[in-house]
């Protein structure tokens, strides 16, 4: 009995791995086994015409309940992917914190260069969006642009997502077998898994980037709150007019502040602040506390710039990567080799016509060994046939029988005769024979095309009982059907003869034989 599993609609990477393992194990099973299993599972699963992914996940859940190997792979893959995500987040936190400390480095004698802070913490990560976009280009485009696929490949190769792939191999040491399996599977079905691989890498890279930006934002806020930051800006490329330089910078900062201008118009440096915060290293003077406090007014702008131009784009790219990754996982799940066969079997299982119970053991096995042989009564060859019994009205003309066995008594049993008539015939045959003088054989004509029934066996046994001590043989002659429907003594086919011989041989009566034709009867 399957335990009910909560219905899931969204597969993850671990499902892809577990499904691949389950389908691989199915390859070792016979079609019959698989069909029987699906027949058992089908009633527990959603109808096959519902969402195929839901059916796939439910099927996988049911398989995992039966197969510990698949369950174990799923569990290990899930753990490894979770740990990888955590490790990436931790690495991003470390890098982000160090980068923020470096960018906000303030030795107390000068000012924090606001431009440098934004360049390091927002500009460079922003530029790194370009490789993401390149790597995310659809195959149809990269294939058409010469070199685009190579550049996209390079972008993926240099992506921090690679760190995730490396971690997935390293962290999951206990899942070594699973990793090897995934690697083999991916190598064997490169085209199938390429989408999943690409988007898994990009999702990890965007997860790293988002964690980095969030750390930067948090670290910047921490520094703003717990340290005294005095921001400034500086340039060598001056126009010679300080007011003009400041206006240019103000234009840039105003432009950058457009996204939040409507909600926080003060969160941008004023022209006066910009003019005031420009500094020259050679002329740098220690700041008075009031000046330092004023120069700290840059912070809302810096924090919001990090949030809007650092965090938000990465949130967006992570959402895109996540969504594309899920789509790739769903597509891969549906096109996994062998999965269509699962769906077909599940659908077939809705209609069942076969037997519920297996066929019982071969019934003939217990009766195939001959019964205990009777006390040997050596037959005399060359006996004349003293009686011919037509069993169940074999359609044969009397003249041909009379011609073949002129001295034999003509009798009939089976078929339309009653059981009482059969018994009387046997008694009659027994009483009419004198063992000392009469040694004629009894010939029974049977229909070769009909199988020997127990009713006939009963008759033969009863006859033998009546002829006990008699050295006469009982000869059974299966008569065949001729193609022209004539009614002569036609020989039965070899298959029919074999059937009669095998069945009667099991009686273990040495004085009972099956003859193929008239000559054999006389032999």
């Amino acid at each position: 009995m399957l335990m009910p599993t909560p219905e899931r609609t969204q597969p993850d990477l671990a499902d892809v791995v577990a499904l691949a393992r389950a389908l691989e194990r199915d390859e070792q099973r016979s079609s019959r086994e698989l069909r029987d299993r699906e027949t058992q599972l089908a009633p527990e699963l959603p109808a096959a015409n519902e969402d195929r992914v839901s059916v796939a996940l439910a099927w996988l859940g049911a398989i995992e309940q039966r197969d510990t190997a698949v369950r174990s792979v799923h569990h290990r893959a899930e753990t490894a992917f979770r740990l990888t995500g955590l490790a990436i987040a931790f690495a991003a936190l470390l890098v982000g914190w160090l980068a923020t400390l470096a960018a906000f480095y303030f030795d107390g004698s000068g000012r924090v260069n606001a431009v440098a802070v934004l360049a390091v913490l927002v500009g460079v990560p922003g530029l790194l969006l370009l490789p993401f976009l390149l790597a995310a280009l659809p195959l149809a485009i990269t294939q058409k642009l010469p070199g685009a696929s190579a550049l996209a490949g390079l972008a993926r190769g240099l992506s921090p997502g690679r760190f995730g792939a490396w971690l997935w191999r390293t962290i999951a040491r206990e899942a070594g077998e699973t990793v090897a399996f995934v690697a083999d599977r991916a190598a064997a079905h490169q085209q199938l898994y390429s989408g999943v691989q690409k988007w898994a890498l990009l999702r990890w890279s965007q997860w790293f980037a988002l964690c980095f930006q969030l750390t930067v934002l948090a670290a910047a806020l921490v520094l703003v709150v717990f340290t005294d930051l005095a921001f400034g800006w500086s340039t060598t490329l001056t126009t010679g007019d300080a007011a003009l330089d400041a206006q240019r910078v103000h234009r840039v900062t105003s432009f950058l502040a457009i996204p939040w201008n409507w909600i926080a118009p003060d969160a941008q440096p004023s022209l006066a602040l910009i003019e005031q915060s420009r500094y020259f290293r050679v002329a740098s003077q220690p700041l008075s506390p009031s000046q330092a406090a004023q120069l700290g007014d840059w912070w809302p702008f810096i924090v919001l710039t990090i949030a809007v131009y650092g965090v938000l784009p990465r949130l967006l790219t992570l959402a895109i990567a996540q969504s594309r990754s899920q789509a790739a996982i769903r597509a891969t799940l549906m096109t996994s080799p062998g999965f269509s066969a699962v769906m077909r079997r599940l659908h077939s299982a809705r209609i069942q016509t076969v037997a519920v119970e297996p066929e019982s053991a071969d019934p003939e096995a217990r009766t195939r060994s001959p019964e205990t042989p009777r006390a040997p009564v050596p037959p005399t060859t060359g006996n004349r046939v003293s009686a011919v019994i037509n069993w169940s009205a074999v359609p044969i003309d009397e003249a041909s029988v009379s011609a073949a066995f002129p001295e034999a008594q003509r009798l009939a049993a089976g078929g339309a005769s009653s059981m009482e008539q059969d018994a009387a015939l046997i008694r009659q045959l027994g009483s009419a024979r004198n063992p000392a003088s009469e040694r004629g054989d009894v010939l029974i004509l049977v229909k070769g095309w009909e199988p020997p029934l127990l009713e006939f066996i009963d008759f033969v046994k009863a006859l033998r009982g009546q002829l006990a001590g008699d050295r006469a043989e009982i000869v059974v002659l299966p008569v065949g059907l001729d193609s022209d429907s004539s009614v002569g003594l036609h020989a039965a086919s070899p298959a029919q003869l074999k059937l009669w011989r095998d069945k009667l041989a099991r009686l273990g009566d040495p004085s009972l034989r099956v003859a193929a034709d008239r000559q054999e009867v006389m032999a």
Binding site: S194, S340, H347, S348, A355, M419, L453
Partner: protein
């Protein structure tokens, strides 16, 4: 309302189990020439969506019918109905070995099952059948007789005359070869035996028709997937610098052919499994490939880069480096840095690609020659695959579960090659779809669309084939070809 149940009864070896195997689509039913192959009644419930619509019961044949009838007649003096006497017979003898078969076959009948009496139309009627039919008449259950001509139907008419004295409905059906529609017709006839059985049997027939349609469409999809896989298949071998390609060419070709045959064999198994046949032996002539010159050579570089890619990547790298200089000069250089950097980078990429192939990293060559065998570009090749698959499908679809022995398919290659000469209306459409398959990548929407469209085309061909199989005047000519 109780589920309609039908006991398949009769003389031994007249095709009872074969009829059950055919109608229940169950190849596990034991069928043998020896009488007494079936010793226990075995139930075959037909379930659709979890609901049992009817049940077939395979029973052992009569072995001592005259003795049983004698017993019944001896007990016919009581005031009870004859059906009660039959029930009493079963009750009295069910633990005895003597009337084991008779009890097994009568038990479902006294429980209310309809009677399906099976005889062999290739052998003559005889008086030994009278006792059996008389016993069945005593049960009072609705009944139907099936004349099953095992071989030549020489005695169908005498049988019909004899049976019509005992049974309301008499049908002739070759249970070994009965086509699907004849099987359904027989099931409908079962439903006519009692008014309350009509609806569930009609429901069952509808479900079976839907199921058969689904099987066909699934089989079409399996065939199309097989063709797509075979068309895209290629064998590759990366050679290091200086390795002789000739040494590997033969093994690549062998592997390519072996793999194609394996792809075809797997699809065959799946189609057979769809129709409920497992582990069938197949007698089929192996596929002959229509082309043997599929070997090609190309140079390769590490990371899957081609020479063209390396040039583009190097040029881009150079342009970016030049761009840094341009930025530093605040545009004063008019992008000359990017331009010059791009040209220099591209040139370096172009001239270093051959050198890169000579290098080794961690003892692994960074480039070399790639030998490729396949994929096939031959136009008739997918037509041959499709024709062979359709031929196989026809044989599987027409096979009943009563048939034993290997699945014999006539010379598939010959039939397929004949087809190439044939120009059909759908041929051009198929050629176009095969071309789309060749050009699309697995996993893309274009591939999915091509597969779906081709599946529809294949289903149409299957329907045509089924029609021509039903029509005895229909020619056995294949349905399609390249028509080029």
């Amino acid at each position: 309302m109780s589920t309609p149940t039908f006991a398949i009864v009769g003389h031994p070896n007249k095709g009872k189990s074969s009829l059950v195997a055919t109608l229940a689509r169950d190849a596990s039913v034991r069928i043998g020439p020896e009488p007494g192959t079936t010793v226990h009644a075995r139930e075959f419930p037909m379930r659709a969506g979890g609901k049992v619509l009817y049940t077939l019961v395979d029973t052992p044949g009569f072995q001592r019918a005259r003795a049983a009838l004698d017993w019944l007649k001896q007990h016919d003096t009581s005031a009870g109905s004859r059906a009660d006497i039959v029930a009493k017979f079963v009750q009295t003898h069910e633990h005895e070995d003597r009337f084991r078969n008779e009890c097994e076959l009568l038990r479902p009948v006294i429980a209310g099952a309809g009677l399906i009496y099976v005889v062999d139309g290739a052998t003559p009627y005889g008086p030994e059948y009278d006792a059996e039919m008389e016993i069945l008449r005593w049960t009072g259950q609705p009944s139907l007789a099936v004349i099953n001509p095992i071989g030549e139907p020489r005695f169908v008419e005498p049988w019909r005359r004899a049976l019509e004295q005992f049974f309301r409905v008499v049908r002739v059906l070759d249970v070994m070869k009965a086509p699907f529609d004849q099987q359904l017709e027989l099931l409908r006839a079962f439903g006519q035996l009692r008014e309350t059985w009509r609806q569930p049997l009609e429901e069952a027939v509808t479900a079976l028709i839907e199921h058969r349609e689904r099987q066909s469409s699934d089989a079409a999809r399996v065939i199309v997937d097989m063709i797509a896989e075979a068309l895209g298949h290629q064998e590759t071998k990366d050679l290091g610098q200086g390795e002789d390609p000739a040494r590997h060419a033969a093994s690549l070709e062998t592997n390519y052919q072996r793999r194609l045959r394996a792809i075809e064999a797997r699809a065959r198994r799946e189609v057979e499994s769809l129709y409920g046949f497992d582990e069938l032996d197949r007698e089929e002539i192996d596929m002959t490939l229509l082309e043997t010159d599929l070997l090609s050579k190309e140079s390769w570089l590490i990371f899957g880069l081609k020479k063209r890619d390396l040039v583009v990547v190097s040029a881009t790298g150079g342009a970016i480096a030049g761009g840094v200089v341009d930025s530093a000069l605040l545009g004063a250089s008019f992008l000359a840095g990017s331009l010059v950097g791009g040209v220099i980078g591209g040139a370096i990429g172009y001239f270093s690609s051959s050198k890169l192939a000579d290098l080794k990293l961690l003892r692994q060559p960074m480039g070399g020659v790639r030998l490729r065998y396949g994929p096939s570009r031959n136009v008739p090749f997918p037509f041959v695959l499709l024709n062979r698959a359709l031929l196989h499908h026809t044989v599987v679809e027409g096979r009943t579960h009563a048939q034993r022995g290997a699945l014999t398919i006539r010379d598939g290659n010959a039939a397929a090659m004949e087809a190439v000469q044939f120009v059909g209306d759908s041929t051009r459409e198929l050629a176009r779809l095969f071309d789309r398959l060749r050009r699309s990548e697995p996993g893309t929407e274009a591939r999915a669309d091509a597969l779906a469209t081709l599946t529809n085309e294949v289903m149409k061909l299957m329907a045509l084939q089924e029609e021509s199989a039903r029509d005895p005047r229909g020619s056995s000519a294949p349905l399609l070809g390249s028509g080029q």
